[in-house]
């Protein structure tokens, strides 16, 4: 009987730890995504200052980044709902859409940005996908 109690307790602790780790990873993922977007936008801004952003690209950046910010708002709502016991699936879905928008920004940067910096952005976004 004592052994059964110990096993039950061990399973409970393991489940609690697993849930905690998963939640932290979900929080870390969104922070990483926002940082990759920030670095990407700073790179765009630097190139704009140097005259490398044409009006057509400027419009595309505005469009994709506006969509990203709208998705960030949706992610905030979904994360709050998830934190309060709501759907994890909904949070993950909107998180994936936000991550995809950052991927689009990196793709816009690809033809004009430094290959080294783009590889760092790609690696960071990939890391966010695996957290």
């Amino acid at each position: 009987m004592k052994q059964i109690k110990q096993i039950t307790l061990a399973i409970g602790v393991a489940a609690l730890l697993a849930t905690g780790c998963k939640s932290n990873n979900l929080y870390g993922t969104i922070i990483t995504i926002t940082q990759v977007r920030d670095s990407t936008m700073k790179e765009f801004a630097k190139l704009d200052k140097e005259g490398f952003i044409n009006p057509e690209l400027d419009i595309k950046i505005t469009e994709v980044d506006s969509r990203y910010r709208a998705l960030a708002r949706a992610t905030e709502s979904a994360l709050t709902a998830y934190h309060n016991g709501g759907s994890q699936t909904e949070y993950i879905n909107v998180l994936n859409a936000t991550r995809a928008a950052v991927g689009e920004l990196i793709n816009l940067l690809r033809p004009i940005g430094s290959p080294v910096k783009i590889s760092i952005l790609d690696a960071n976004l990939k890391k966010a996908s695996s957290l």
């Binding site: 780790c21 939640s23 932290n24 990873n25 979900l26 929080y27 870390g28 969104i30 922070i31 990483t32 926002t34 940082q35 977007r37 920030d38 936008m41 700073k42 765009f44 801004a45 630097k46 704009d48 200052k49 950046i61 505005t62 980044d65 910010r69 960030a72 708002r73 992610t75 905030e76 994360l79 709050t80 934190h83 080294v116 910096k117 590889s119 760092i120 690696a123 960071n124 990939k126 890391k127 966010a128 957290l131």
Partner: protein, 59 residues
Amino acid sequence: MNEWQIALISLIAKVGLDAAIAIANNITSSATYDDAIAALKKTQEKTWQMYKDEAKAQP
């Protein structure tokens, strides 16, 4: 050495140690709900125009 480690070393070389550590620290699993919400609020506030203005203001 995996792809992430190579990228981090490249990052240190390019942006400096402090910035690279700041990024690496936030990638750890120690992030909380409050950290995530703060990052989401901050990212929504900053527009493409603000990034451009910030870059132009720098010497």
